[in-house]
Subunit: 353 residues, 2 copies
């Protein structure tokens, strides 16, 4: 029933080590030997034992995905992207939802890494922004990839320095550019008083999106009014509250569009508008951010910035694998900066006259 590497070795008439080499795609195995072993593997239906490989090897065949995000769609996309890569590489994925607030977070993660001897880690925001975690990871010498909001700064400065040394373990999502774009979309529709309902202040994505929004206004000679900025969290409830607060003295401010920090906020704003009998998009345009599935399930469907999370996370995993084991893969086809694109649906329209 249970086939070991030894059985395969005997069957193929080679040593265990050679079988091991084939399994691990190590170089310096003659083609003929390779085929011989592969056939034996197939004939015996050999399944390498993960535990034994993990124990004998220098690191295990597992990577971790750490997140603290209430958005189920986001998390699932992240998981699936990483998972698809893991499947290809024959790795396992250890998922680790956690609470960024927890002061002992880095310890908890360290424990997980040591217990499972993880080969690497994918960090999603906001964990990817926490210095204590990064420090711990560096100390431990574990490979990791960070998903970050922003642009790759390494690209521009110090071109003399070996560029592959700096920030070579980050994947960027250019929220700034995306927010800029979506704001321009609104401006082009004739909107002049555009509000912004922020997500959690601690998240870098919030400041990036806000900055993009503000720059767009500036570039189009529209004034930046702090009263048009609502500071909230990335939640539906916050969207409801924010919209209510922003639209309270509507007559004074004449807000004709609200840019939500994410889709949930936008959905909340949509909900609030309905309570206040405001027609969308005739009287008010609302846009989201992220393009989670439910942005297509609201009424009207949300204009938003599409972010291919599963693709992004797949590239994160790809980047991570390029750093583990011997893997001398070229990083060539790894995209490290993603810019969400505007998806126009029904929640935005021409500014009312």
């Amino acid at each position: 029933m249970k086939v070991t590497i030894n059985d395969v070795a005997k069957h193929a008439g080679v040593s265990m080590k050679t079988v091991s080499r084939v399994i691990n795609k190590e170089p310096s195995v003659r083609k003929k030997t390779y085929d011989l072993v592969m056939q034996a593997v197939k004939e015996l239906d050999y399944q390498p034992n993960t535990a034994a490989r993990n124990l004998a090897g220098t690191s295990s065949f597992a990577i971790g995905l750490v997140y603290d995000n209430p958005n189920a769609y986001y998390v699932i996309d992240m998981q699936n992207g990483v998972l698809s890569r893991c499947k290809d590489e024959g790795y396992e994925l250890v998922i680790h939802p956690c609470c960024a607030q927890d002061p002992d977070m880095h310890k908890e993660i360290a424990t997980m890494i040591q217990r499972s001897r993880l080969a690497g880690l994918v960090l999603t925001p906001p964990l990817s922004e926490q210095q204590d975690i990064i420090n711990m990871l560096d100390e431990l010498g574990v490979a990791y990839v960070r998903l970050l909001s922003g642009q790759n700064e390494a690209a521009s400065n110090d071109p003399g320095d070996a560029p592959e040394i700096k920030n070579n373990n980050c994947i960027y999502v250019d929220d700034y550019a995306a927010a800029y774009e979506i704001t321009v979309h609104l401006i082009n529709l004739g909107h002049k008083t555009i509000a912004f309902a922020c997500g959690d202040a601690e998240h870098k994505s919030t400041t990036e999106r806000l900055a993009g929004y503000q720059q767009a206004l500036k570039d189009h000679d529209l004034s930046i009014n702090n009263e048009l900025i609502y500071e909230g969290t990335y939640s539906f409830e916050s969207g409801v509250k924010g919209a209510k607060a922003l639209l309270k003295d509507n007559n004074a401010a004449k807000i004709t569009a609200i840019l939500g920090g994410n889709d949930e906020i936008a959905a909340g704003a949509l909900f609030a508008s309905r309570l206040m009998n405001i027609a969308i998009p005739e009287q008010l345009s609302i846009s989201g951010f992220e393009d989670s599935p439910f942005s297509r399930q609201t009424w009207p469907k949300l204009t938003t910035a599409h972010q291919a999370n599963s693709v992004i996370s797949e590239h994160a995993a790809r980047l991570l694998f390029s750093k583990t084991r011997g893997s001398r893969k070229q990083d060539k086809d790894i995209i490290t900066t993603f810019t969400p694109t505007v998806v126009v649906r029904e929640s935005t329209g021409p500014a009312p006259v």
Copy 2:
């Protein structure tokens, strides 16, 4: 840096095996020795090596969660429930999204089990209903728990037989009862022509929910009309289509309420009604099923049947752990049948006169 069981043994002045016993909470360790070892563990900050435990032991310290479900909320809840249990038990979770359609599904799962030497498996619908997978699992002798739609049939028949032998590895969600209840809710509101938009026909939950709905009608002397039943899938789009189809000849049928197979279908129906300018709930009541977060984010908020997925999956894991290793835990506090409860929100109201 790296502390092994041997270090702990020396530090505590006992043998490795004794430390191992303490770690694994095996009985027959004197309290005094136990404390001694635990202190050494703490002082040295010892982390048992998962790979070594997996290799040396008869099964690994990992269980699997297998699912094929497009609903991110559902999956996340399932993961979190199982995960919380895993944390307590010191197990790892291997998640395995897959495609139920795939004819080689059971082989793929078998491979996963053997590679990781999983201690057990939690199966969610519809995988939990597939006989080929169950057979494979039985053959392999792996512990598993199935999440099923329906009621525990073992409870009633053959009370003479040892009851713990039959169906002792299933957790039931009584969709029938829940659908009955929610239909009664509608009937009590005065609705007489209630439609039902089904989910995927292959899922047991669909037939259970449909049966509950029909029984409720019967018990209240309302006729069962097949034209009021739309056969679709568990998706938003299907909800849209279903509602359109059902309401097409509205005058003839006089449908005043639609029961959605799940929240997504209900949200779709909501969307369609808006397209057709039908006021909810004044002209038409719509109810969902499952109480996923977005049932609170629609307009109006959905009346639905609340299903505590994370609690359910936690109990599934609990049940699974009661079957693994030596664990002589009592099953006493494990609930094996859950009945979703009706949550009345704004999408249902009195039938129009």
